[in-house]
Amino acid sequence: MATTTATLTLSSADIADNNISISNTMTFYTAGTNTGITETTGLARKKTVTGTNTTLLATGSGIAADVTADRSAKVYIKNINDRGDGRKFVTILLQTVEIGRLYGGDWMLIPWSGGSSNDIEFTASDTTETTLEYTCFYE
């Protein structure tokens, strides 16, 4: 097995009267075990110049074929573009269902239930070149 960890630190000195500091480290385990995840897509990069849906990770095909609903998988995505005027973003979707907007420089880390009809897709807010970096850890 392998030991892969993800550490999150959320901090602010002025969003409230007292400092906010939330920090957590998780280890990527296979579903319901203490056994480390041993597979990954590696860090990848995807570009688009369209404002239409683009599939980032397709379930049931390629390296994501092993990602099913009852298995453990984690997906990291980062929009490496700039923010433009502040309204340049990428919408991340599970097929047609929007999760949220990654503005330039934003990242996200989510668990991912694969299985049918659960592709991770993205739509850029405009047609200038948009680049995402992403990786998936899975069992």
């Binding site: 602010s12 906010i20 998780m26 599970l94 999760i99 949220g100 907007r101 503005y103």
Partner: protein, 145 residues
């Protein structure tokens, strides 16, 4: 405005044949701005009943189509315990004991059939969950009395 940062570090010494080390820091800015930080925060800890289907973070008009960020952590310790996280009946994934997620959230109030609330279902046991929403503003219920 406030300055709030989110930093992630992904690391492994033995997943690949060489060390994996990835780190990224982002500022939590408002939609339509290049450097104006989000100023509002909800931070909760809750114990949720097994198999309940809850709106953990509910829709609100003022949250709609804005920059919002969600943090959820399953604080249980038994590795068999997990929580199913979903939006509009579309399962994002399972948060096992000790797992966390951090994601943007696009509250989209286009109708009852497109409920964009962040939902949670604890499985195998009651779940202790910590969660936070960094946001641009929310619509509170109007007092009835």
């Amino acid at each position: 405005m406030a300055t709030t940062t989110a930093t992630i570090t992904l690391s492994s010494a033995d997943l690949l044949s060489d060390n994996l080390s990835l780190s990224s820091t982002m500022n939590l800015y408002k939609d339509g701005t290049t450097a104006t930080g989000l100023e509002q925060l909800n931070y909760h800890r809750a114990i949720l009943a097994e198999d309940g289907d809850f709106d953990l973070i509910a829709e609100s008009a003022l949250l709609s189509d804005k920059a919002n960020y969600v943090y959820i952590c399953n604080k249980n310790t038994d590795v068999s315990h997990y929580c199913i996280i979903s939006i509009n009946s579309k399962v994002i994934g399972r948060l096992y004991a000790g797992d966390w997620l951090f994601m943007p959230w696009d509250c989209d109030e286009t109708g009852a059939t497109a409920d964009s609330s962040v939902e949670i279902i604890p499985k195998e046991a009651d779940a202790t969950v910590e969660y936070a929403l960094f946001h641009s503003g929310e619509t509170l219920p109007t007092s009835s009395d």
